[in-house]
């Protein structure tokens, strides 16, 4: 299994909560970037079989059809897509058009992930999104005409968005036929607009406990309606789990193309440069994982999703996790369970998983 991630760092405007690398840039910068992407893909490609592709950002839907085609074609020409199972593109409601959808469909993209974030016009405005509730609903309906597999992103923790409010949003979204929801807890970083707004009391997100309350209510609702919480932040109807994301949790290989993109190849975690000029020079951070780091990854990634961590894989690398000082306590407290030589974290403890996972890391 190998995946490809392509990072498109452009947005029409930066969202107020975003601490991520994105540029709201001129057309020629985008064009240049697409050229850089092309040459990166060409130089690193090895023609291997690819199972999943993910165009993320930023806002990939901001690209013109010809730009999307250009990148897609470079991938097609330099890799073997005969066994491709899933190809996702992220899109914002306001930049979804018929033309965009048609282009995607034509290229073979079969999954679209829409950044809805909220269905409150007030909150959408406050967090700096450019769409409204109605526009989001309309664009989902439109996308639905071209794609069966639609995912939406929701943020949990916005002002006034309690569990009841979120369940209401979920009801609307499910009725539109979406197959997958990613729910992210609002994270406030210091150098963001939202941080300033909170300081100035222009925005009042839910406090941590209320956020988790809301999240749990939403999670219960989605599961009651047939979705599976297959990872901390991800819910899907059976069969619609994101294969690309599961690849991350099961430590499959992936290429990451584009500025600040991450790759995992040949036991190395590779991070592309974070500025355009460094990226153009092809500078990268390469980290060869030690056995201990591999162990840490297996525990950390396996426990944050329903894939579990394989006890034998850990043992082979010299870590008998059952001897960890917390292990038997967690089993007794029903925090962990073992099945088929794998350890799983009880879904009810996902929201406090940092404590549990860090305790279970090898010394």
């Amino acid at each position: 299994m190998t995946g490809i991630y392509v990072h498109i760092p452009f947005c029409e405007r930066k969202c107020n909560y975003c601490a991520f690398i994105s540029f709201s840039s001129a057309e020629n910068t985008r064009e240049n970037y697409i050229d850089m992407l092309d040459s990166e893909i060409k130089s690193r490609a090895d023609g291997r079989k690819i199972n999943t592709i993910y165009f993320g950002g930023g806002t990939p839907s901001i690209l013109s059809s010809s730009q999307i085609e250009k990148v897609s074609n470079v991938i097609k020409q330099n890799f073997d897509l005969s066994t491709l199972e899933e190809w996702t593109i992220e899109a914002n409601p306001n930049s979804i058009s018929e033309e965009f959808l048609k282009t995607c469909k034509k290229l073979g993209i079969n999954r679209i992930s829409i950044g809805v974030q909220s269905l409150s016009d007030t909150n959408l405005k406050k967090i700096g999104r450019l769409h409204t509730k109605n526009e989001a609903i309309e664009k989902i309906k439109l996308a639905k005409q071209y794609f069966e597999n639609i995912s939406v992103d929701l943020i949990v923790g916005l002002e006034g968005e309690t569990g009841e409010v979120l369940c209401d949003y979920a009801k609307t979204l499910l009725s539109l036929g979406i197959k997958h929801i990613s729910c992210y807890l609002l994270e406030v970083y210091k150098n963001t607009k939202i941080f300033e707004m909170i300081e100035k009391k222009e925005f009042a997100p839910l406090d941590d406990d209320a956020q988790i309350d809301a999240f749990e209510k939403l999670s219960d609702f989605l599961q009651k309606n047939g979705m599976i919480r297959y990872e901390i932040s991800n819910f899907a109807f059976p069969g619609f789990e994101s294969k690309h994301n599961i690849g991350y949790w099961t430590r499959e290989e992936y290429f990451g193309f584009g500025i600040s993109a991450h790759s995992f190849l040949g036991g190395e975690r590779i991070e592309n440069a974070k500025t355009l000029s460094d990226y153009k020079n092809g500078s990268k951070k390469v980290e060869k994982l030690s056995d201990k780091e591999i162990l840490e990854e297996i525990v950390m990634l396996g426990l944050r999703c329903n894939q579990g961590a394989n006890i034998n894989s850990l043992k082979k690398l010299g870590y008998d996790i059952s001897k960890n000082e917390y292990f038997s306590q967690y089993i007794k407290q029903n925090i962990l369970k073992t099945e088929n030589n794998k350890i799983f974290l009880n879904e009810r403890f996902y929201d406090v998983s940092n404590t549990i996972i860090s305790n279970l890391l090898p010394n």
Binding site: Q333, I335, S353
Partner: protein, 602 residues
């Protein structure tokens, strides 16, 4: 033949901050003992902590050479600590001297420690020479302070040197007074060797080094010496003096202050206060030595990492060599594992030892709240000395408990008398006396339970009097009191390291305060954790730490696994300062929180 008449052995005694180390610096400079290039402030305070806190903890001897009236004199200065906790160190240095300079701040006047140190000097038959310092200050009141010295202490002060150690004014008068007023040592260098170990420290290359005052005889490399108390014999490898760094010399003889190295590998073979004599021709009777000092404040010290128990033990043994007043014995706590119950001279001493363990030995330690030692009489007639609250027998087996009581002298400007009396009352003090020394100074006498003083008495006194009051205390005995043990249950399990012995009337408040404080300090856990304070089986307070809700890395941006891994590694590393107690994880600072109980009330 050496002329004893040209030797003076003296020390400087003073209240803290009256300028002792600065005067020592000036004397060293004036006599050219250290070149200008090597001179630094507080030159005798070699410990990092001493310079930082501006205090002297250890004795530091140095030899000054001074020409006076065409004769060359050797002046051996032994610097001494000024804090009440280190009275014992002061008294050790006094035995090695014939005289003392009593340094008094010209604006502060006589303070609690001035008096306490003078009494020590008089007890040791030292010639005490008053010196008034800081005459350069605008607030200096030289004449009044002279009168204070005469009235309060009873020393003649009209002709005493009035100096500014800071500016170097009249330092020659101090040197003159040392030579003229302090008697020369007596002794016979051809008699059998008799010297007193007044301090010791450990050198990784030379072994244990004895700091000695030679009273009779001569000692040189190659001599066989006998430690009279431990009955151990060693061959001297080196003798020397302090200038103030060590300098090897041919021999030390009667009247000298210096050091002896003898490849002594076992730290406990050197006992401060012991007498060294010639192994081949020993004297019959040793010098009186020192009375064994009794620790009054106790606490548990545990390694944060249980595996470092051995390192902690080594470190305590090394500190003990320099500091005979440090006591320790192994202790096992259900919450903290293996460690040591340590005894100290006071809170500052405790603080200094714990800081030295962390800085000089690079150890991460957990200290439990300080306690005093109680006499506990059981109904079966047995009497126990309990310094660890968790060892207190059940209430029903106790017929009575006695707690240590101290006599306290407080010097203060009169306007603070009211607030000080209130503080003493609150601390279960009993008023004894109040005297006006002059218009500006009042001396207050109280007796107080030591257990109350070790909580926050120092800090409260300082803050209530804006630092103007000084105080000194001495142990006066034991008195019966209605004391109970308050235990803390975490998740229903008794956490021994958090138990405390308190007066019955204060138990409810202390228990409630501690439970509240622990609730603030202990982070939320995966499950709800009840905190209960109880006396015996009776619950007197309850708090609940609600379960942790949010501790999650929600998003994995574009497969950035490394960032996540590093965050979790960091979280795991942070856990090293936590103690696991049952399924509850407690940060190390929680164990000191009992001490800080009263701070928030202010």
């Amino acid at each position: 033949m050496k002329d004893l008449k040209k030797i003076r052995n003296f020390c400087i005694i003073a209240h803290i901050d009256h300028g002792k180390s600065t005067l020592a610096d000036r004397l060293i400079e004036m006599t050219g003992t250290v070149s200008k290039r090597d001179m630094q402030e507080q030159i005798l305070d070699s410990m990092e902590l001493e310079r930082e806190k501006g205090i002297t903890i250890k004795l530091a001897p140095t030899r000054l050479v001074y020409e006076y009236e065409n004769k060359e004199y050797i002046l051996n200065l032994i610097d001494t600590p000024g804090h009440v906790d280190f009275t014992y160190e002061v008294s050790r240095s006094l035995v090695a001297c014939e005289g003392a300079l009593l340094l008094v701040d010209a604006s502060q006047g006589v303070e609690a420690q001035t008096l306490a140190n003078t009494y020590l000097a008089l007890d040791n038959n030292l010639e005490t020479v008053p010196v008034i310092n800081k005459i350069d200050l605008p607030s200096a009141r030289v004449e009044e302070v002279k009168e204070e010295i005469e009235e309060v202490i009873g020393l003649e002060a009209q002709s005493c040197p009035c100096i500014s150690a800071k500016e170097g004014t009249n330092i020659d008068q101090v040197l003159k007074a040392i030579i003229e007023k302090i008697p020369a040592p007596t002794g016979d260098e051809s008699a059998p060797l008799k010297c007193l170990i007044f301090d010791s420290h450990y050198d990784n290359f030379k072994g244990a080094i004895c700091l000695v005052r030679v009273f009779d005889g001569t000692v040189k490399a190659g001599d066989q010496i006998l430690m009279m108390q431990t009955q151990k014999i060693f061959e001297v490898t080196e003798v020397g003096i302090f200038v103030p760094n060590t300098k090897q010399v041919e021999s030390l003889s009667a009247g000298d202050v210096g050091y002896i190295a003898a490849s002594i590998k076992t730290i406990s073979d050197v006992k401060v206060g012991d007498t060294i004599t010639d192994a081949t021709n020993p004297i019959k009777t040793p010098l009186p030595g020192y009375k064994e000092v009794q620790p009054v404040v106790f606490c548990g010290i545990f390694p944060v990492d249980g595996a470092k128990y051995g390192e902690l033990k080594d470190a305590l043994e090394k500190l003990k060599l320099n500091d005979a007043s440090l006591h320790f014995s192994p202790e096992n706590s259900s919450a903290l594992g293996y460690g040591f119950r340590c005894g100290f001279l006071g809170l500052l001493h405790l603080e200094i030892i714990t800081e030295r363990l962390e800085r000089e030995f690079d150890l991460d330690i957990i200290t439990t709240a300080p306690s005093v030692s109680y006499n506990v009489y059981k109904t079966n007639g047995e009497c126990l000395e309990i310094s660890n609250p968790s060892n207190l027998p059940p209430q029903v087996e106790i017929s009575k408990i006695e707690e240590p009581i101290v006599k306290v002298n407080i010097f203060t400007p009169p306007e603070y008398v009211g607030t000080i009396m209130e503080l003493c009352q609150d601390k279960r003090g009993i008023y004894k006396d109040l005297q006006y020394i002059d218009k500006r100074r009042v001396e207050l006498k109280y007796t107080l339970p030591l257990g109350e003083i070790i909580y926050d008495f120092f800090d409260s006194l300082k803050s209530r009097t804006r630092g103007y009051a000084s105080f000194d205390y001495e142990l006066s005995g034991f008195e019966q009191a209605e004391l109970v043990k308050v235990d803390i249950l975490l998740n229903g399990e008794k956490c021994d390291a958090l138990s405390m012995i308190v007066h019955k009337d204060k138990a409810y408040n202390r228990g409630r305060d501690l439970a509240e404080r622990l609730k603030k300090i202990i982070p939320r856990q995966l499950f709800e954790v009840p905190i209960q304070a109880c006396i015996g089986s009776k619950i007197i307070a309850r708090e609940t730490i609600s379960a942790m809700r949010k501790d999650v890395l929600a998003k994995c941006y574009g497969g950035d696994v490394t960032r996540k891994r590093k965050l979790l590694e960091k979280q795991k590393a942070g856990k090293k300062r936590m103690r696991k107690f049952g399924s509850v994880e407690i940060p190390s600072e929680a164990f000191m929180s009992i001490l800080k109980l009263d701070e928030d009330d202010q």
